[in-house]
């Protein structure tokens, strides 16, 4: 576990060594800021619902952009060989990189705290859903990170990793809305798989075990699949 934290620290710092971090953070703030505040005054409501509502879609693109380099770049430049011959196990490598990405997402969300603060100054803001929203955002980010890391483990090409990761995350987000033509009971099964549905529940301020279990499952499956891919490469 200590090795995982060391890798995590190195990976987290690595984000800021390349322009990726600055570009992604800027894009994220620009997109969410514009879409949130452009309609905010029309609703005349002191809530962040519109901000959280678009997070799953935005994350489906932003998070794979953060995870794409994590393993694909190592395979490409060959540093994976130096990494794996250090005294670390597969679990250390995977957990370290995963945690670094989650930490980065948390850092990326920090500037958006300006939104609830601004809104609270304009009207009476209910802080419960806001707290739930940020917790949900972190869980959602973590789940997508695990998926993105898996996509990154499949290839040595970062662009391929990004497209595969974004495709899976996007499908997970919108699966319930894409399949509206299915019969009702079948649709219920798929909406249980939809990240969007689970996220919205938490973002309303309701912390339900089902939603937590969902995100924990996605994280576990993503990381475990990555583990299998790395072992197969071994």
């Amino acid at each position: 576990m200590r090795q995982a934290l060391r890798i995590c620290r190195k990976e987290f710092n690595a984000y800021f060594l390349s322009p990726i971090a600055y570009i992604v953070i800027a894009m994220f703030l620009l997109v969410t800021g514009w879409f949130f505040f452009s309609t905010f005054f029309l609703f005349n409501q002191a809530s962040l619902r519109a901000f959280f509502a678009m997070l799953p879609t935005v994350f489906a693109f932003v998070v794979p952009a953060l995870t794409m380099r994590l393993l694909a770049e190592e395979f490409n430049i060959g540093s994976y060989e130096t990494l794996l011959t250090l005294p670390v196990g597969f679990a250390d490598v995977i957990l370290g990189k995963f945690l670094a990405c989650v930490a980065f997402i948390a850092a990326m969300l920090v500037p958006t705290l300006a939104y609830p603060i601004t809104v609270a100054m304009l009207g009476s803001l209910d802080w419960g859903p806001v707290a739930g929203g940020y917790l949900g955002a972190l869980l959602l980010g973590a789940a997508f990170s695990a998926v993105g890391l898996f996509a990154s483990s499949l290839t040595r090409n970062q662009i391929v990793a990004f497209i595969v990761g974004a495709a899976i995350c996007f499908t997970l987000t919108l699966i319930s809305q894409m399949l509206f033509f299915l019969p009702r009971n079948l649709l219920q099964v798929f909406s249980a798989l939809a990240a969007d549905v689970h996220f919205r529940t938490i973002a309303r301020g309701i912390i339900d075990t089902r939603n937590l279990v969902y995100f924990a499952s996605v994280i576990f499956i993503g990381l475990y699949a990555t583990n299998l891919v790395l072992k197969a490469r071994h």
């Binding site: 710092n13 430049i77 540093s79 250090l86 005294p87 670390v88």
Partner: protein, 311 residues
Amino acid sequence: MIHIEGLTKYFGDVCAVDGISLIARQGEILGLLGPNGAGKTTTLRMLTGFLRPTAGSIRVKEHRIEEQPLAIKAMLGYLPESAPLYHDMLVYDYLRYVAAIRGVAPDRRSERIRGLGDLCGINEVMHQTISALSKGYKQRVGLAHAMMADPDVLVLDEPTSGLDPNQIVEIREIIKRIGREKTVIFSTHILSEAEATCDRVAIIHRGKIVADSKTAELKERLGGGSRILITLDQADAAQVSRELGVLAGVARLEVLEQEGPLVRIAIICTPAPDPRPELYRRIKQTDWVLLDFHQDTQSLEAVFRELTKES
């Protein structure tokens, strides 16, 4: 120290390493020699735990690689071919990261990095990004990375490839210095390098070991004895062959060149007795003029070519 037995690796249907057995003792420099694609890198990758063997066992001290890969990785320092390091990092930051992962105590890290900087001659590039380094410096940073935790075994994959002659000599010196106390295994396809640096040489060809012995012994055993080159003036090739071919210690006699009265011959000797005194006496009795008489010891190069010839 290191026991490798029956090591085999298949990539799909392709057999890269085919039942290699090797032993490396402490304080020994072992060179893995072979043409391109012989399986040197694959062997080293299995030893360092990067690839899993299809069959066979690897033991370092009392640890087996399939049971305690982390214990073995902790004892091993590895420099992969062409030193693949993180491009974006500063050399110093990279070495600090390796020091942390390698478990160097926090208060000793700066000291250790400075020591390695002196040893590998990288102090002046400590604050450059790795991508800005020349190949030679990158190689040295890789060497510092491999030696970070003062490992018992140093594994180097073609450590001198792409370096200039001065750097090659420096790296060889470093390898020799480390090899006095530790075990060093390195691969190369440069024969003079193996000859100059290694205590023992194992030649790999098509995934198999075709020779494994002390550098000096190998030359002796496989060189088929030495060769004597003689140039004579005022002589006749047929007569020379007749006269000298029958002497004790001469296995074979080849006429290399006949140009008028000038004859160049090569005498392939049997291991014993030494035919030189007898050759000299016989030539002295004739009217031939002796222009050149020298022994040509078979270099490792000849041995290597002999063993790895495409059959």
